[in-house]
C-alpha cells in the first residue's frame, strides 16, 4: 500500500434536493476502504445531511443518513461541523445525529466524532490536507 494521504471531504449541500450528498458519502466510503486518512467537513446547507430524525418514507427516497453513523467502523472518526452554519439555520449540536467511534487506543471507549469548528479553524484544517474534495 502506498502512502496514506489526508483527505478532506467538504459537504456544503442539503441531502435530498441534489445528489451531491449521497455521492460524497460513496466517495468517502471508497477513500476509507483504501485506508486513507479521511475527514469530513459539513458547512452551509451541508449540515442538514447529518440532521437527526430524517424520514424519507413518504418521499419514497432512500434515507442514507444512518450511513454516517457507520463511518466510525471505517475509521472515519473526524467529522467537523461549521458552528456558524448551524447557528445561521437555528440548529445546535443536539439537532445532529450523535456520531461516535470506538477508540482502539483507549480500550475501545466510545467517543464523539463531531467537532464544532469556526471558519478560522476551517482555514487551518484545509491548509493541513493533501487533498480536498468538494461536494
Amino acid at each position: 500500500m502506498s502512502d496514506t494521504k489526508k483527505f478532506l471531504y467538504v459537504n456544503r449541500k442539503a441531502p435530498y434536493g441534489t445528489v451531491y450528498a449521497l455521492e460524497s458519502l460513496e466517495v468517502v466510503l471508497i477513500g476509507a476502504a483504501f485506508e486513507q486518512d479521511v475527514q469530513l467537513l459539513f458547512m452551509d446547507d451541508g449540515v442538514f445531511q447529518i440532521a437527526k430524525g430524517q424520514d424519507t418514507g413518504e418521499a419514497e427516497m432512500k434515507n442514507f443518513s444512518p450511513t454516517y453513523s457507520a463511518l466510525g467502523d471505517y475509521e472515519v472518526t473526524k467529522m467537523y461541523v461549521d458552528k456558524q452554519s448551524l447557528e445561521e439555520r437555528g440548529l445546535t449540536l443536539d439537532d445532529l445525529i450523535h456520531l461516535t467511534y470506538e477508540d482502539e487506543d483507549d480500550d475501545y471507549a466510545e467517543k464523539d466524532s463531531i467537532r464544532l469548528v469556526s471558519r478560522e479553524e476551517i482555514a487551518a484544517l484545509m491548509e493541513e490536507q493533501d487533498v480536498i474534495l468538494s461536494f
Binding site: 456544503r12 449541500k13 451531491y20 456558524q84 482555514a123 487551518a124
Partner: protein, 99 residues
Amino acid sequence: MLHTVNKSPFTNNSLDSCLDCVGNGAAVLLIEDGVYGALKGSKVADKVKAAMGKVTIYALSADVKARGVADKMIDGIKMVDYAGFVELAAENDKVHSWL
C-alpha cells in the same frame, strides 16, 4: 493553496464561505459566474476588498470578457488567461473548488 469559485455571489454563498475559510497567502481564482464576485460597488465588494489584504484574488479573463464586465473589476484583482489558470493550479500544493 488555490481556491476556485464558479458561482455568482448573488445566487450562492460559495464566495462568502470561501473568503471566510482562506488562510494567509492563499490564492482565490474566480471563474465562470464566479467572476461577478469581482464587480466594483456590489454588495460583496467590501468583503472581497477586505480579503485582498491576506489573499491574492484572480479572475479568469475569458469569463470576465464574455460577461462584459472587464471595466467593472475591483482594483487589484489580477486577470489571468487559461495558461495562467494552469500555472496557478500547478504552483499551488492543492486546489479546492467551491461548488
